[in-house]
Each structure stands twice: as structure tokens, then as C-alpha cells.
Amino acid sequence: MSLNGLNSLYREVILDHSEHPHHKQSLSSATNKITLKNPTCGDVINLEIKLDGDKITDIGFTGEGCTISQSSASMMTDAVLNKTTAESLEMAHIFSDMVMGKEHSQADLDKLGDAAILSSIMQFPARIKCATLCWWALRKSLGDEDDD
């Protein structure tokens, strides 16, 4: 038996983010707040965003979840901090396409920062929801809910 296959999912950087998540805190002055849950596993994310005009000037999350959901949230907050809502939503769509295995350019991926590493989740279909929960929370809190 061997868990070599696991390395492609649980890379160092993912484990790092999950052990020491960035921006895992509540904001005192959030303008947008949302709680999203993944009922299958019980994961919960509370996402808080501070918008200044069009720009995300602060972001934080709390909640519970697996390694993937925690690190994904951590990497997402890194990626969208100080971006405009339009830029952030574009990233959310790129991320969503990426994990569904749709074509995406390297330039697009680069925009995601560390988060791009989660493209490996494709090989673990049961875990895609874990990775996307935080990005859904972002889209919903920014009013980009195309209702599905």
C-alpha cells in the first residue's frame, strides 16, 4: 500500500495553508458577510469582506472544514485581497472552470496565485466541493449568484 497518489492533492503548500491559514479571522468592519455550508460533510465557512468602493480592502474567514476547504479559503483570501470585485469574480470563474477540468490559459491560472495549485483536485471529484465552497461564498457575497 502507498499513499503516493495523495501527494498530488495534499501538496506542501496546501498543507501549509491549512495548518496556518491566512486571514482566518473575523473583521470588525465588514461590509459584506455570508455563511455557506456543505451539508454533506458539515463544513461551514463564514466569509467577511470589507469593500471600499469597488475594492476588497480587507477579508477574513472563520468556520470549520477539511484540509482542502481550509487551505482553499486561505489561498483565496490571499488572491482576492486588494482586487476589485470584477477582478475577484473573474478569478472565481477561472477557479470554477479549472476544477471542473475546463480549458484555461496559463495566464489565467497565474492570476489565482497559490490557489492554482488546487487544479489537482480534478482527480478527486468527491473533494471538488471542498475546494469551491469558499469561492461560492465569495461570489454570493458579491452578488454574483447565477442561481444554480
Partner: protein, 409 residues
Amino acid sequence: MDKQLQQIRKDFPILNQKVNDEPLVYLDNAATSQKPNQVIDEVVRYYKNDNANTRRGVHTLGERATEEFETARQKVQQFINAKESREIIFTKGATDSLNLVASTYGEDNIAAGDEIVISIMEHHSNLIPWQQLANRKKAILKYIGLTADGQLDMEDAKKKITDKTKIVSITHASNVLGVTNDIKQLAQIAHAHKAIMVADGAQAVPHMPVDVQDLNVDFYAFSGHKMLAPMGIGVLYGKADLLKVMSPYQYGGEMIDFVEKYQSTWTDIPWKFEAGTQNVSGAVGLGKAIDYLSSIGMENVENYEKDLVAYVLPKLLEIDGLTVYGPHDADHHSGVISFNLQNLHPHDVATALDMDGVAIRAGHHCAQPLMKYLNLVATARASFYIYNNKQDADELIQAICDTKEFFKV
């Protein structure tokens, strides 16, 4: 007999495969069981020879299908020792069966202020139907709690069940804690208060001898797919006296006596509760699954699983940082074993084990109130059945150790 059980693995073709380059070790039996060739072949035989709609046809195939369907009913009757075959209603599964009882007997008999007693370890399928019924009727839903080692607290049961109680509905065997509840005694308590006793047998019937007359339950629900049978078939047992006076659940073909434009009358039990075309191949497959289990003997099934638990439970308890929920005493633990590994999320554990070919479940196991009661978000769960063996248990232990190493917990 153990010999026989060693041999049966070859009857289950699905087990003979690799998953992620490792031999499959299927330990998600509490979710659904695999099917032996005998059951699969029986379904094929039915479709290739006798398939027809039941109870409607004068023609030969129709007659054969009807007879096989009713024979399956008799097999179920004998398997759980019901008094009469008309006390066996075919449903889609345990969830369908429990909803049927709540929507008919429950709807007809629960009034504002009445009490319904369930337990905190119930599966959502034996919880939400009663919760919603209570909310609709302004009745009171009460929960029996657990003892310190995760067994049903019978003292609490005696307190919670009162003269106001109309329905007690408890799982016969837990799908999380690995405990088996004393349904017989609960039925005695319920009946002493003139309440009826419903039992959720989804995790019991596949694993131990069940005698509904001895338990003296009023209703008993279970699913075929967890006991080697095809999906889409389940059973509700009900005492004839109760079934006879109950309203129907669904309306449609074959459950009627006479239909007029503005009113209808219903046919006799059990058909009154079987509206529309029935899943005949499912029932026939269930009949075959019962034959298969009976040829082993349910006592042997129970003992075989007990041995497996006695083998694997201590090994699990030895693993550093691993917590097992429910009793730690193998004598009081079924083949359903829920656990957590340090603060590693069970989803991560399940993914890791899957890489080692070991299929377990992670999550709340459709028992969110129990999770909350235990202060948990989720657990991992390994569950055994007759085709599992000590080697499977060893693979599980090894995979958990690999996982610990990988995640350094």
C-alpha cells in the same frame, strides 16, 4: 460455517477489482451492501423470462410475475417472522417506509399536545418525518439521550415515554454508534403507555435475526439494498389490525376497490399501500437475497461479524490519536465503527484511505442531531459485512497508519 463465510467472497464480483491501483476493500456497508451473483442472476432471469406487470394480467407472464412478487412477500414474512404475509408492504426503502407510517398512522392519530418519542441517535429518515409531523400537529417531539458510552439510555426512555406518548420510534441498530437497542423492552414500555412502537431496522435486518412478533413492534422498516438485494425495494411491516384501519399513503392503480368520479374505496391490505406498478424485479431480488442470507443463517452472520469486530476494534483502539465513538467493548459494538483521527478532518481521512483502496464513509451519516450531541462535526466510519474478512480489517488498520504518517498526526 466460518469456512462457508470464507468462501462467499467469490459470489461478489465487484470486490474483485482494484481501486487507485490497490485491491478494493469495501467497508461502506452501512451505506449500501454489494450484491452476490445469485441476486444479480435472479434479476436477470426475471427480466429474461417472466417480466410483466402484476395483479392486472390474465396472461401467463402476468400470472408468473404476480406469483413471484407474492412469493417474495412470503419470504420476507418468514424472514422477520411476521404473522401473516399481508403485514408486509413493499416500499422503495426504509425512508419510504418510515414516511408512510408518519403520513398515515401519524397523520391520523397525532393531535396537538400529543408526544412522539424518538432518540438522539436517529438517522434523519427516522427523525425528520416525526419532527415535521410534530410541527404540523403542534405535538411534542422528545428525544431519548445516551449513556456515557454511547448506548441508548433506558432510564431516560422510561422517563420520556409517558401517558401522553402516542408513538415511540427508535432505530434497532445505530448507523453511527454501532449499538443495538433493546426494541423489545422499548415496545413494552411504549405499550404500557398505550403508545405504538415503530422500529427502524435498516441497520438490523441485514446483520442479525429479527423476529417482529417477539419484539412486538407495531411497525418495522428496512431497506433491501443494505442486505444484498437490489436498490429501489424496501419493506414496511405493520400489524394487520393497524394497517387495516389506516388511510392509504399514495393513490393510483391497484390500491383501489372502487373508483367513482368523486369518491373511492380502497382494497385490502397489503395492496392498499402499494399504489402503481410495483418494483417486481426488486422484490424478486430481495427474495433471493433472503434465500442467500438464510442459507448462511442469520445467527452465523451475526456471530461472524461479532468475531470481526472483536478482531478489529481493539486494534483500532490501540492506534494513537484515534477516537472510536460508541461502546469500546466489542461485545456491545456492531460492525459499524465510527472514529476520528486526531483533528484531521474525516474527509481527508476518507480520501487518504481511498488512495489505499479502502472505501469508508466520512460525514455526518445523516445524523446531524447526534453529531451535535456528541460535539462533533463529522466522523469517519468503517462498516463490515459478511464478505469482509480479517485481511480487510488489517488493510484498514494499515491504511489508517499510512494516513497518520502522511499527515503527520
